[in-house]
Each structure stands twice: as C-alpha cells, then as structure tokens.
C-alpha cells in the first residue's frame, strides 16, 4: 500500500495503539527514538531482521514488537 509522506495510520506498538507517519518498520524504529542495533523487531508475530526493516511496509492495525535486552532467569 503506497502512502503519501506524512499520511498517518493507526498501528499497535508494544501493545499500545499509536498513530504514525512512518511508512516502513525502519522509519518507525527511528521515529520512536530507538537505535537500529539496540532493538529487535517483529511485525504481526513474525521476526523482521534488522537489515530488512526498510523493506517492511507498515499497514493499518499492524502489530509491532520492539524489544531490547533485559534481565532474565
């Protein structure tokens, strides 16, 4: 789906509904203030490798996960 620059859509990021004008996952990561290498991403349940983020378009109601290293047992 081709969007004009600046046109916003509603998506879900980390469980929270937001609006964004980012057209790709890469743009979203940047828009949300994350570093490219500091996070990992998934869209609609599927992992998206870092180098592929620029090719993954964001569509309305897309569910995006942006995760970072954390403590764990």
């Amino acid at each position: 789906m081709q969007r004009h620059a600046g046109q916003q859509i509603g998506i879900v990021v980390n469980g929270e509904a937001i609006v964004t004008s980012a057209r790709t996952l890469a743009e979203l990561v940047a828009e949300q203030g994350f570093t490219e290498t500091g996070v990992a991403t998934a869209v609609n349940g599927d992992f998206v490798p870092r180098q592929a983020r620029g090719e993954v378009p964001l569509t309305p109601d897309a569910r995006v996960e942006i995760v970072a290293p954390r403590q764990g047992g």
Partner: protein, 273 residues
C-alpha cells in the same frame, strides 16, 4: 548408580553443544536488588553461563543498552530465554529477536502452559524446539521430568535437556527426585541441567549428586538476604555435589551396619545376644 560405576580418572569439563563451559553453575540475571549486586553476585558465583531475556522497550529509552553493557562487561557466555512465551510461534519469534540482539544461537526455550505453575507446555515446547533447531538454534529446553517429552525433544534436535526441580521461583528444590533419577538413567549421555525451583545450596548439591551435569538458578541467589554470599555458597555446593558424584557415593541400606569393628568389643558375651 554412583556405586555401580565409580567415576575414576580425569574430571571432564561440562560440554554443551561443543563448548567447554567452565562452571556447572548457570545463573539468571533477574530480580536482584540492584545492577551492582547482580554484577557482584555473578562474579562471586563463577557462573559459566548467564541467562537474559528480551522485553519491550519504551520509546526513546535506553534501558536495554545499559543492561547489555553491564552483562557484556562480566565476560560470561550469555543465553537468552523465551520467558513469557505461550505458543511455539511466540517462542520462535522471540528467539529470533534474541539471537539478533545477543548474537548467539544458544536459546533457553520456554513455552509456558499455565500461569500459576509456569510449567512448560510440553506439546508446544517440542514443536518450538523442532522449528528452532531447523533454524540453526542450539536449544536448551526448559522441560519437566516427563520421559516421553524428553525423547521427543531429543528427536526434535535438542542435545541438552533442562528439567525442572520445582516450579520457577518456588525454591522448593527437587520435588520429584525419583523421576529425575529415571531421567538421568534413561539418557546417560545427554547433558542434563536442573533448571527452576532450586532454593538452597543443598538442593543444588543434591542435583549434582544425582549425576546432573549442571544447575541453573536465579531466585535462590537474587532473593537471598545476601545475594553475593549466597552466590558463593551455591558455587561451593555445585562443586561439592559434583565431586561427590565423581567420587562414588556409598550404597544406602535400610538396616544399620556398624562402622566400628565388632571383633574385640569389650564386655562382649555370646549369651547377651
């Protein structure tokens, strides 16, 4: 089992997926009172592997990077987990995200089936293990004492198994040592790591005395009054238990057998029997 086959000769190190791991204590990084305490406890424990996780990061936050720097500085091999995953799909996607972030193909695979016990969903676990092995991961499945699940996990490509001692965070130790003994006997050549439910160093020692290859614990150290001191205690317990296993534990019996020689007992008279 120990008495029948005394472990003589050179001590072999722990080998997991072809890697020599310098300690049989694996440690989690969660629930410590502070990053400094966590760091000090890790050092005191001499742990060979640290477990970590991936979690949602808040926009413009830097929490993940700070934690990652701290962990990397410890110089211990890192193993991410798939904690919180309920389905194979969640576990596979989480594992892939973790692999990219932590730059390792080692994964502690958790597919959880119950919110109260946090016990593994064995069906989902086997499915996820197969998918992840196929994708090149070295899978460390968090499982139960179920022998059939163990066989399925090995068939799915796992080369290590991590059966629970008791539910995560309960500190109850080895809830079913009989089943764990069976597991050890059924898979003598598979590295077996007791993971979850350990509360005291005596539990860790008991696991090692049964012949388990390593133990993985977190809460037992992190929630101790003095985590750094407790980490040291656990390191000693794992060492003691492993040495005991390799030294060949004595046979147990039901009735007493005197240790002091009977011959020459003073005041001994046959009629007194």
């Amino acid at each position: 089992m120990n008495a029948i086959e005394p472990r003589l000769g050179s001590v072999r190190p722990l080998m997991l997926y072809g890697v020599d791991v310098p300690s049989r204590l694996l440690l989690g990084t969660a629930r410590y009172p502070s990053p400094q305490v966590m760091s000090d406890a890790v050092k005191a424990s001499g742990a060979g592997v640290l477990t970590v996780s991936v979690r949602r990061e808040a926009a413009r936050a830097n929490t993940g990077a700070r934690f990652f720097e701290l962990i990397k500085a410890l110089g211990v091999r890192i193993m991410p987990n798939t904690a919180g995953c309920r389905t194979p799909r969640e576990a596979v996607t989480t594992a892939r995200m973790a692999r990219e972030l932590f730059e390792t193909d080692w994964i502690k695979l958790e597919v959880i089936g119950n919110d109260d016990t946090l016990q593994p969903d064995l069906f989902g676990l086997v499915e996820a293990a197969a998918a992840l092995t196929h994708d090149g991961f070295k899978v460390f499945p968090y499982t139960t004492e179920d022998l059939v699940a163990a066989e399925r996990l090995l068939a799915a490509g796992c080369e290590v198994l991590m059966p629970w001692g008791a539910p995560i965070g309960t500190g109850r130790g080895l809830a079913n040592p009989y089943a764990l003994k069976s597991l050890r006997q059924y898979f003598p050549a598979v590295p077996l790591i007791i993971d979850a439910g350990i509360g005291a160093p005596s539990h860790a020692a008991a696991a090692m005395e049964l012949g388990f290859d390593a133990v993985l614990l977190n809460t037992a150290v992190a929630a101790a009054a003095d985590p750094v001191r407790m980490a040291r205690a656990f390191a000693a317990a794992v060492e003691a238990g492993r040495s005991a296993y390799e030294a060949g534990l004595m046979e147990t019996r039901d009735m007493a057998a005197p240790s002091t020689p009977v011959a020459g007992t003073p005041f001994f008279e046959l009629e007194r029997r």
